[in-house]
Amino acid sequence: MTDTAIEAAGLGRRFGRRRAPALDGCAFRLPAGRVCALTGPNGAGKSTLLALAAGLLRPTEGTVTVLGTTPAAARERLAYVAQNKPLYPQLTIAGTLRLGRDLNPRRWDAQVAERIVAEGDLDPDTKIRALSGGQRTRVALALALGKRPELLLLDEPMADLDPLARHQLTATLMADAADHGTTVVMSSHVVAELEGSCDHLLLLGSGRVRLAGPLDDLLAAHTLITGRAGEALDPHTVVESRTTGRQLTALVRPEGHLGDGFQSDRPSLEEVVLAHLRSPDAPPLLLDAREAAV
């Protein structure tokens, strides 16, 4: 078993020659066993990246390696829940789970799948057609977890769940990941939702990787500073700076000691992400997880 869940090198995907690429030259490495938040604004390439990792799209440039092999070869060991939670509307919930058993005969764990369905108070004989959006998400997650994947790719999994179901399903996912060492990648643009549950971050913007690395390390690499306007910020890397009157507020990646004229704070995840989204020209920061993961 490899210790890398996903590794991308120069990964790019274009839809049509004229349009800007959905993904462009992405390079990152996600160690196994992580719970990774994949975030970024609408149209940043989150869904494309997940579909590439699931082996549903062919990259137009570069490579992506999943669980030490090609995505196509890893399909049996990964599970993928697409953004629109496709399921066969004509089947019942029980029928859908039977489908999972039939299509994954070597891996299927009926107990896990049935437990997730039961936690949502769903009658197994209900047709998928009759379910609400959130209930469908629950069944889709049951199908994904019932496969006992080594890598779980979730595209906006929590978007249409109520707060209670969201909390409960997140807990189930985390427990599963912890028990079985499953790597989880979930995309979301609600940053606050991710902070408590994830330990790794991948921020995409305009098809490129802006931030990648363990969450704690990424946070530690940034400092929120306030000081007098006009104060020199060299040699630190400035992500974003704003001047209000005589006061300067900036998010920087400190290089060495910060000047005494600054008051420095630890930024929250949301502050780091938003600062990067507001400043598309800020240099990307890719922390090599290989060292950081130790």
Partner: protein, 308 residues
Amino acid sequence: MTALTATTTPAARPALHRGGLLRAVLRTHRTALALSLLALAAASAALVWLHSLENEARAGVSACATPPMDGLPSCAAVEAITVDQTYANGIAFLATALSWLMFAVAAWAGGALVGRELESGTAQLAWTQSVGPLRWLTAKLAAPAALLTAGTGALVLLNVWARGEADPDLVGDWYYPDAFVSTGPVAVAYALAGLALGALAGLVWRRALPATGVALAASLLLHSLLERHREDLWPTVGRTAPGSIELPRSAFQVTWDTPAPHGVHISHATFHPQSHFWPLQYVETGLLLAVAGTATAAAFLLLARRLP
């Protein structure tokens, strides 16, 4: 994790593998399966019943002429008097239904079998299960193909049996388009070509309704092209004689030419005698299977190229 996988993986599991995929395909297309079995049962019952009418119907047909002459009655009267309409209509209806089966199959394959799945994303759901896209497509094509071959084959045999030695005036000559298609292996080949064309259209368009339309249009084109050029699929027999020619009964006339080079009328006719039924069937079946094979190969190639 390894401990858990070990407990849920008894040695007997791999045998279940193929059956599981097949079950999944059948379960997701339960309505289509039920409807086609129902249609098969109804058509079989109808053919058995028609067979029981055959002798009675055949007894009623006689020779006729228009206008009435030589002691023969008028054809308009004979048709009204003697033909057992029920039998003739029943056979004609089933022949038409069998030769149009391709359209229903193509529309279903393009729309429900492939197009809708790609449109709604359930195909992608299936591909990220353990079976993979190529095996998914194999099962999607193989299961209906097997059922269609068995069902259509049985109906063709029943149809031939129900037509029996019936008079061509009653059930149509062997070369009538519907009769030709519904009494030989081409019926099966048409259904299979419809399936393959539908699946290809579904994969190319990836949306249910356009794929239905395109699959239907492609099958209509193929069906009418073959119907129009059926006579060219095997060398014809020629016959030349002064004056007029009497062709044998049940000859499939292709051309008729009456040049008068030196004031003498010469008739030249080309036709297919009834013995050309099988060669024509084999050539047409071969062509259709080639179309089906090409479409299937194109579908697999497309899927393989689209996915990593």
